[in-house]
C-alpha cells in the first residue's frame, strides 16, 4: 500500500519528506520480512543463505557481498554476490574470533570500530578478490557461538552505511544468525545420532563376541567336569542341547533359555568334590556312597551362587535338577511348581541323556524304551508339560519338520515309524 501522500498519478504532494521517510522505514521492515520468510521457505540451506544475502544487499542497495561461515576450522565463503566464484577462506585467527565474540554489531571497515584483526581479514580477501572492496563488516553469531560474518561492498552511489542502517543490518544479522545456529544444531544432532548408531552397532557386536567367549569358557569348564568320569564325557554339552530344545519348545524367554543353557552345562559342577572311584563304580553304591553322590546339586549351587551370571537363577536351576515333581527328589524335596521350570527341564534332559548313553552299570537303551520310561515317570519324576515338549522336539526331528540335530543319532535300534507312532499316542493320551 502506498504510504506516499502523492496521488495515484505519481505526483508527489505536500508532506513528501515525511512520507518518504516513512516509506523508507516500511521498506526496511518489508526487507526484514523478506529475509525471514525467504529463509523459512527456502528448499534447502544453501538457498536460505543465498536469499538472506540477497535480502540484505537489496535493503541497502549494495551490489557485492560475501557470506562466510565458520566451518571446518576456517571461515568459508559459502555464498557471494556480484563477485567471481572462488573466494578463498579466511583464517580463523584468535584475534578475529575475539572481535567476533566481542562487538556483535556491524562496523565500517575503515572506521574506528574496526579492529586490526578485521582489517587484516578484509585485506586478505581484497588480495584474493581485487574487484571487491569491503566497506562493512557484519559479524554473525549468537551469545553462545561464533557463526561467521558478512562482508558488504559499498552501497550504490558510494558512501558508508549510516548508523541507522547499521542498526537495521544488525537486526537482519540477528535473524540470520538464529537460522544459522538452528541449522548447525540440527546438523550436529544428526551427526551425533550417526555416531551413536555406529557405537551401538559396535557394542552389539562386542557383546555378541563376549557372550560367545563366555559360553565357550563355560563349555570348557563343563568339559573339565565331565572328564572326571569317562562315562559322562560330553554329557553336559548334550544335556545343554536337549534342555535348550525343550526350553524353546516351552516358549521360555530368551534370557531364561540362556539360563537353562548355562545351568545345563554346569549342573554337575558339584561333582568336582565327588570321589572319582564312586563316579566310575560299576556296581551298586553303598548307602554312604549314595549320600556322597546326592550332595553334588547343593555343591553345584554353592559354587555357582558365587558367580554373577547375566541370566536369571542359574545356580538355583543347578541346585534343583534332581528334584522330582512328586516331592521325592533331592536336595530340598520340592514339588511341582515350586521347582523352577528350568530345573524341571534339565531334570528331563539329564535323565534322557543318561538313558541314551552307556553307563558303568548298563548299556544304553533304545530310544523307544527311553521315551517309554520317561513317559511312565511323567507326573511322578517329571513335569508332564516338559515331557510333552521333549516328545514334540523328538517328533519334529524324526518327522523332518526341523533339521535332525540330536535325536535321530540316538535311535539305537528303534525305528522311525515306531517312534513317531508312539509319540503321537503319548501326546494324545496326555491331552
Amino acid at each position: 500500500m502506498p504510504i506516499s501522500a502523492g496521488g495515484s498519478d505519481g505526483t508527489i504532494g505536500r508532506g513528501e519528506r515525511f512520507a518518504s521517510g516513512a516509506r523508507r522505514a516500511v521498506f526496511k521492515l518489508e526487507a526484514l520480512r523478506d529475509l525471514t520468510f525467504g529463509i523459512g521457505r527456502a528448499r534447502n540451506f544453501d538457498e536460505s543463505i543465498r536469499i538472506a544475502l540477497m535480502a540484505i544487499l537489496g535493503t541497502f542497495s549494495i551490489s557485492k557481498g560475501i557470506l562466510f561461515l565458520d566451518e571446518y576450522g576456517e571461515f568459508r565463503a559459502r555464498i557471494s554476490r556480484g563477485l567471481p566464484p572462488g573466494v578463498p577462506p579466511i583464517a580463523r585467527s584468535q584475534g578475529l574470533i575475539r572481535c567476533l565474540r566481542g562487538a556483535r554489531r556491524p562496523v565500517a571497515v575503515a572506521g574506528r570500530g574496526a579492529s586490526g584483526a578485521i582489517s587484516r581479514a578484509v585485506a586478505e580477501v581484497a588480495r584474493a578478490v581485487p574487484s571487491f572492496a569491503a566497506e562493512t563488516f557484519c559479524p554473525l553469531g549468537t551469545r553462545k557461538e561464533v557463526l561467521g560474518m558478512i562482508l558488504l561492498g559499498r552501497p550504490l552511489g558510494g558512501g558508508k552505511l549510516s548508523p541507522l542502517q547499521r542498526e537495521v543490518l544488525s537486526v537482519m544479522a540477528a535473524v540470520l544468525s538464529a537460522h544459522l545456529s538452528h541449522h548447525r544444531g540440527a546438523r550436529e544432532s544428526s551427526r551425533l545420532n550417526e555416531v551413536l548408531r555406529r557405537q551401538v552397532e559396535a557394542n552389539t557386536r562386542l557383546l555378541e563376541e563376549l557372550e560367545q567367549i563366555y559360553l565357550d569358557t563355560i563349555r570348557a569348564l563343563a568339559a573339565a567336569i565331565d572328564a572326571k568320569d569317562p562315562y559322562t564325557r560330553g554329557h553336559s554339552e548334550r544335556v545343554a542341547k536337549i534342555s535348550v530344545r525343550i526350553a524353546e519348545g516351552l516358549n521360555l524367554s530368551e534370557s531364561e533359555v540362556q539360563a537353562v543353557r548355562v545351568a545345563s552345562l554346569l549342573h554337575d559342577l558339584g561333582k568336582i568334590g565327588t570321589e572319582r572311584a564312586i563316579l566310575s563304580k560299576d556296581s551298586a553304591l553303598t548307602r554312604a556312597e549314595f549320600r556322597e553322590v546326592r550332595r553334588h546339586p547343593r555343591a553345584s549351587f554353592d559354587i555357582l551362587s558365587e558367580i554373577r551370571f547375566p541370566y536369571p537363577d542359574v545356580a538355583l536351576l543347578a541346585r534343583h535338577h534332581h528334584e522330582r515333581v512328586d516331592g521325592s527328589g533331592y536336595p530340598d524335596g520340592k514339588s511341582e511348581q515350586h521347582i523352577p521350570i528350568g530345573a524341571r527341564v534339565i531334570a528331563v534332559a539329564d535323565s534322557f541323556d543318561a538313558m541314551t548313553t552307556d553307563r558303568p552299570y548298563r548299556d544304553r537303551l533304545p530310544l523307544l524304551d527311553v521315551l517309554r520310561e520317561i513317559d511312565a515317570n511323567a507326573d511322578r519324576q517329571f513335569d508332564p508339560a516338559v515331557v510333552g515338549a521333549l516328545f514334540r522336539a523328538v517328533k519334529r526331528e524324526f518327522g523332518g519338520e526341523s533339521p535332525s540335530g540330536i535325536f535321530p543319532a540316538l535311535a539305537n535300534g528303534s525305528c522311525r515309524r515306531e517312534i513317531l507312532a508312539y509319540i503321537d499316542r503319548a501326546l494324545k493320551s496326555s491331552r
Binding site: 516509506r23 523508507r24 518489508e30 525467504g38 536469499i51 540477497m54 535480502a55 544487499l57 537489496g58 556480484g82
Partner: protein, 117 residues
C-alpha cells in the same frame, strides 16, 4: 532451469524485458539470466518494462542492482518504463533511480536509448 519465463522482444538492438508478476528471488533470477545471456552475446541496451509488475521486494532490488552493475561493467545502458508510483518511489529511496532513468512509456525509453547510441 527456472519454471518462470520472462517475455522479451528486441527493438533495433535493444532488449525489452517485461517484468510480469512479483519481482522476488524466482523471477529475479530469471531476469538476471536473460540479461546475462544478451550481454554475453554482445548486447548493450536493455529496457525493463514494469507495467505488469505487481511487487518488487528487497531481493528483487538486489537483482536490479546486480543487473545495473553488470551493464556498467560493459558500458551498457538501461532504462525503465511504465513504473507504478509505488515502484517509482521504491527506486528513488533505494538509490536505483540515480543510475537508471525511468520513462512513462516504452516508446520514450526506447527513443532515449536509441539517441544515446
Amino acid at each position: 532451469m527456472s519454471y518462470l519465463t520472462v517475455d522479451t522482444r528486441e527493438v533495433d538492438g535493444t532488449l525489452v524485458l517485461y517484468v510480469n508478476g512479483y519481482l522476488n528471488s524466482l523471477l529475479g533470477e530469471e531476469v538476471e539470466r536473460v540479461i546475462q545471456t544478451v550481454l554475453n552475446a554482445g548486447g548493450q541496451r536493455v529496457v525493463l518494462n514494469f507495467e505488469g509488475t505487481k511487487l518488487i521486494n528487497s531481493i528483487g532490488i538486489s537483482f536490479i542492482i546486480g543487473v545495473i552493475e553488470k551493464l556498467m561493467e560493459r558500458n551498457g545502458m538501461m532504462a525503465f518504463c511504465s513504473l507504478s508510483p509505488i515502484n517509482r518511489e521504491l527506486f528513488k529511496i533505494t538509490g536505483v533511480a540515480r543510475y537508471v532513468k525511468s520513462f512513462d512509456t516504452e516508446g520514450e525509453a526506447l527513443a532515449y536509448l536509441g539517441r544515446r547510441f
